[in-house]
Amino acid sequence: MPRAATAPSPIRVLIAKPGLDGHDRGAKVVARALRDAGMEVIYVGLRQTPDDIVRSAIEEDVDLIGLSILSGAHMALLPRVVKLLKARKASDIPVFAGGIIPDEDARSLRRVGIKAIFGPGATLEEIVTTARRLARPRS
């Protein structure tokens, strides 16, 4: 069953909201924007632990993980996701994050391997473009 000669396979991206706080409006808006850009978005919603996120990402064989975080727990949760990916030999799956993250924290998150960080001012267009660029190429 050779690949259909039509469109290439869609990018698969996991969108999650780790941590215990509040709502997932922002994450949902991003999920819809990525869908409208032709991606398959596995939306897992609220209260995801780093272990949940990594397991889902592996099972769904995603090309990218996007995490929305508001709680201030980013310094604990985001590096943990990167570390778990490495431990499960899945560090080829890039991670980006969005939320209210102070510049200083953003710098150190980039150092531990978060590929892009979006503040509240980021446009959906920026996020889509970055997601396309970051997504692991499908073999």
Binding site: M1, A7, S9, R12, A31, D36, E40, R55, S56, D61
Partner: protein
Amino acid sequence: MSPVLRLPPAARAVVAGDRRALARLISAVEDRDPAAVASLKALYARTGRARIIGITGPLGVGKSTLINRLIELLRARGLKVGVVAIDPSSPFSGGSVLGDRIRIEKAQGDDGVFLRSMASRGHAGGVASATREVCRLLDAFGMDIILVETVGSGQVDVEIRDIASTSIVVLVPHLGDEVQTLKAGLFEIAEVFCVNKSDLPGAETATRDLSELAALGTDRDGWRPTVVPVSAQAGTGVETLWAAVEAHETFLNADGRRDRGERRRLAEEVVGLVRERVGRELTGSMDRDRDMGSLLDRVAARAIDPHSAADRLYRELRRSG
């Protein structure tokens, strides 16, 4: 060499229980990657053990919530569960939001469960075209029960019959008109009706009405659909529902019904694969082949009619084959 060592590496990893390898191979199958075919071929002999159960019905009736309950029940009985949850792709962007994992939280953190979300990718039948093959991979991976949640749109969901040995159609109270319009399609596929959200008013009436309809006929095997009120949210009726599924599975075991059904499904599959290939070949030659091009030009010029053009193509295809 042992038989396992003779498998392609990807297939070998799946048999060895490597979750990432399984996930990757599922993607390759979904993407129609030719490299996946070798693994599918090699794994086929190791499949056929798992029971595939379809769960279908309109959007929002609680299919995912029900699957969450079924996972709980099946895991308590020591069974391993694979889940394939299919949602529609947007006809405009080709993208999709796959949200079934939110409700199927029992799949989380348990190696005895493997849940995969799939987008229908424009396939019209309600079940993504790769679903059957993904189910086989889950089977080869060692899952005992495979639950397939399909895009619930009644009529078009009949394709689940070509994959599952038992199908549950999920409905909710006050779906009266919808049941009327969906009736033809739904009764063709349902071995078990689940009246979900029976914690809401109207469930008794809905269950009674549906039971009356169900009593009117049987499917080709002579099975009369069972109707079970359930509240997936509260967790009531789930055991009774599963007992109804098991009753149908037991029914299939008698008088060679299972083998007949399996043979019918496999015949569909083989014919479908040939059809897919021939179709692709023909479409390809329309673009490349000059004779074909001029034949189509003549059809467009009303010099030859479509039926006669098809006759000619068909004859040539048989000669060259």
